[in-house]
């Protein structure tokens, strides 16, 4: 492990069940540098979500270890911001209360909390919706709030599980663009899980391609195309082709 390593997924394996155990993940080895944007793609059943829950500290691995800044992750913590596909905003809290939730848990005083919340909401372009309840928001807005909520506590790594999987195509592109801007602005390390190869190639420095039965890393592809990347760019197209073939070959 070198000094630049932010997150080290070290030979992580996971077995579920008692009588007929299922090997969901096997010897997954990924090392992510500080400030890097890494996407994980793979067919359904390749253990993406299991890996997500293990990295988030929501579930223990059966073997191997997750290290964040050299320290083993055994439970969720503020160093690790998590964004779920289904947003999971707290419906009884307003947008600003949702965003300030983590800060409140940490005992940050009201004034500082207000300042951070305002900053986060303008980062995701939702300053006007501060006092709305989530039920009044569209899917794209909800996901922006969820991103602001996870960034508010200033985690060093942002972990996202198919965050744009539940919004329409247009909103998805907007959100991708915004995420890249946030990434550039905040210099966070991002681990982004998706089943959308186009999305992975548009966003990532490196794409980790996973295979199923058992879930494992089959290949890691570096995307050497400067951003912003256009889908019409032949270089982008070539990467998409290559990754599709890698996934397809294993299915």
């Amino acid at each position: 492990m070198n000094e630049m390593t932010k997150l080290d997924i070290d030979r992580v394996g996971k077995t579920f069940g008692g009588d007929e155990p299922v090997r969901a993940l096997d010897a997954v080895d990924i090392s992510i540098d500080d400030g890097e944007f890494v996407c994980i793609v793979g067919p359904s059943g390749c253990g993406k979500t299991t890996l997500f829950r293990i990295v988030a500290g929501l579930e223990p691995p059966t073997d191997g270890e997750i290290r964040l800044d050299g320290t083993a992750v055994t439970e969720p913590g503020p160093e690790l911001g998590v964004v779920f596909q289904e947003y999971h905003l707290f419906p009884w809290l307003t947008v600003e209360e949702n965003v300030g939730f983590g800060l409140k848990q940490q005992g940050v005083d009201k004034k500082e909390r207000q300042r951070r919340v305002t900053e986060m909401l303008s980062l995701v372009g939702l300053a006007d919706a501060a006092s709305s309840y989530p039920s009044a928001l569209s899917g794209g807005m909800k996901q922006r709030v969820a991103i602001a909520r996870s960034l508010a506590v200033d985690p060093s790594l942002l972990l996202m599980d198919e965050p744009f999987g539940a919004v329409d195509a247009r909103t998805k592109e907007h959100l991708q663009q915004e995420l890249l801007e946030i990434w550039t602005e905040t210099k966070k390390t991002i681990l982004f899980i998706t089943h959308d190869v186009d999305e992975a190639v548009a966003l990532a420095d490196r794409v980790v391609v996973m295979a199923a039965d058992p879930g494992r890393v089959s290949e890691i592809v570096s995307i050497d195309v400067p951003r912003p990347r256009r889908r019409s760019d032949p270089a982008v197209g070539a990467y998409v082709e290559q990754i599709r073939r890698l996934i397809g070959a294993r299915e």
């Binding site: 988030a56 500290g57 929501l58 439970e75 969720p76 913590g77 503020p78 690790l80 911001g81 998590v82 779920f84 289904e86 999971h88 707290f90 419906p91 009884w92 809290l93 307003t94 939730f101 983590g102 848990q105 940490q106 006007d128 919706a129 006092s131 709305s132 309840y133 989530p134 039920s135 009044a136 928001l137 569209s138 909520r149 996870s150 506590v153």
Partner: protein
């Protein structure tokens, strides 16, 4: 046309997705008017029906109204109401608090649930009225005994409502809470479980309040003074107009408390679309 575009108290008015709240106003007026005409229709029907019956079977609404005013002016009614409140209020509050508390604990902790499940199932079907013997033996023929019966009724309703609400709290929200620094049972219950289960808890409390007014009559069966005993006395003496006048007190009290509670409930749950 001419419809007020209220912004529903949202200060900035910069939220275009909150609209058409004013529609509710005309709808409210409509349902209010329909309700009033329903009441009038009911009274007319009652009056016509009472003309065909002797007073001892069904007195007219006018006779009942006169009796109501008499009882109110003589002070008998307010005294009885005060006496009923002496056990209704503590019984409802204690029963509700214990029911919600037990519902949260057993809905949340699998272990506590498994330990208590058999006992709960044995105790659950016992109607509060069957406990009157115990109420007298343990507390005597007084407000405490009556409050005990009322509390029992409130307890079970609130227990099951809360239990169901807590059980259905989404695991995902609890996971989100963990990633945002909510650690331990107490913090999780306070910050996620209770707010999330609040709609069910409030529905339980509201149902319980209604049930407790009904239990006031039952709880006074063994001689504790109050509205319920007045109803029984009047009934024994075949003073049907008096029976109905006192039943009306219960209905009106229920209406007042329930309306106030609904206002609070709507406020607490304004986050629901």
């Amino acid at each position: 046309m001419g419809r007020k575009q209220t912004d529903g108290g949202v200060a900035s008015g910069t939220q275009p997705w909150i609209r058409y709240r004013s529609r509710i106003d005309s709808e409210t007026v409509r349902s209010y008017l329909l309700g009033v005409s329903g009441v009038i229709g009911f009274l007319i029907l009652w009056h016509l029906l009472s003309l065909t019956q002797p007073d001892i079977v069904l007195p007219s609404p006018i006779a009942v109204g006169e009796r109501f005013v008499d009882e109110l002016l003589s002070g008998d009614m307010t005294t009885a109401l005060q006496q009923s409140m002496m056990h209704w209020l503590p019984g409802t509050i204690v029963g509700t608090a214990l029911g919600v508390g037990a519902g949260v604990i057993l809905g949340w902790s699998r272990t506590a649930d498994q330990i208590t499940a058999p006992v709960v199932r044995i105790l659950r079907p016992i109607p509060p009225l069957a406990m009157i013997g115990f109420a007298i033996a343990w507390f005597g023929i007084n407000h405490v005994g009556a409050a005990f019966i009322i509390a029992l009724g409130a307890f079970w309703i609130n227990f099951y409502a809360t239990y169901g609400g807590v059980e259905s709290v989404s695991d995902d929200l609890i996971d989100v809470g963990r990633t945002l620094g909510v650690n331990g049972n107490l913090a999780t219950i306070r910050t996620i479980v209770i707010p999330s289960a609040l709609p069910e808890i409030l529905t339980g409390i509201r149902t319980g309040i209604g049930r407790c007014w009904m239990l006031v009559v039952a709880a006074e069966i063994f001689g504790v003074p109050g509205i319920g005993r007045e109803i029984q006395r009047a009934s024994t003496n075949l003073l049907v107009d008096r029976v109905i006048a006192y039943i009306l007190v219960l209905s009106l009290m229920f209406l007042v408390v329930d309306t106030l509670f609904r206002v609070g409930q709507r406020r607490a749950l304004r986050w629901r679309a």
